[in-house]
Amino acid sequence: MTNFITGLLRLRRGAWEALASVLIAVGVLMLMQPFTIALYSYSFIVILAGTVMFLIVSHFPE
């Protein structure tokens, strides 16, 4: 956990990619879940944020 936070603070690719991946995965779950439409409504913005973040952070140093 400490390594993960250090990675985020030092702008390391691994930690930021993991964060972006979690955002995308959560967004897709929100998009396709059958429980509440409120989650569905905010799903796209979460996926978009994750995808854009992924594109940017994949250029960070290892």
């Binding site: 991946s21 995965a25 879940q33 905010y42």
Partner: protein, 315 residues
Amino acid sequence: MTTSPIQKVAQSTPDGVAKKIRGLSDRTIAWIFVAPTIFLLLAVNIFPLIWTIRLSFTNFRVNRPNKDVEWVGLRNYERILNDPDIWETMQATAHFLLWTITLQVLIGFLLAFLINKKFRGNDLWTTIIVFPMMLSPAVVGNFWTFLYQPQIGLFNYVIAFFTGVDPASFSMIGDVHLAPWAIIIADTWMWTPFVMLICLAGLRSIPDSIYEAAECDRASKWRQFWTITIPMALPFLMLAVLFRGIENFKMFDLVVQLTGGGPGNTTTLTSIDLKREAFEKWRTGYSSAYAVILFVTVFGLASIYVKALNKVKER
């Protein structure tokens, strides 16, 4: 002295052209060769994408080209993301994706594992198993529509034989609860061979020496399966999931042929709904926003999946 074809071409090149080519750097010549491909990619992939994104912020309708196009901002996105019908379509797609991928990977891997064993008639069985994949989705759709007929369909008779229910008492493509399973079964029948071929490539790439070493260490078959076969075939399994996931997310032809999205909207997948919005209701701006949402979702998922695949390969 004989001259080579290259020398002949060089001699026949007009002096003016020859001088110009001689003056070009390697980098420029490389660009001249690559430019047509880049231009084609921009024209076929990038331009339509940018145009779709632009249209998604307008109320453009392609069947009313003379009507003024209004800039509506994020209204199309807002309407899609608050529409309960589209939400249901997303759930139907998720159900279809989850079950088709699970069944295809499990059955495909099992078939590959069996085919990988040396036995008599191995090649013949491989050809028979691969056969459904070679058919057109329209043919498979028609074929399964006949199989699912309550009165004459073979599928209903097989179920009746095993369960004892009346074959005419249920309709796979007419029942709200059974129709989603009807498309899952047909898609699994058609595309499991594809997953099997990918898994077979993975299994055949594992050297026999590793199994021989495990035998020397007295590892059981069960242990060999979990510690050698599965880890070494994992990148191929993941590749199969990626291919089938992307393909099934845009599944259209087979489902249209089988159920047409019905009964009700139970088998209306996102691609079918998108086609209806774009080419039946002619809401081009709205359907462009819908397409952008689906594109970003698939792109995001594919990005994390490719990253995971690379990590597994590096191990």
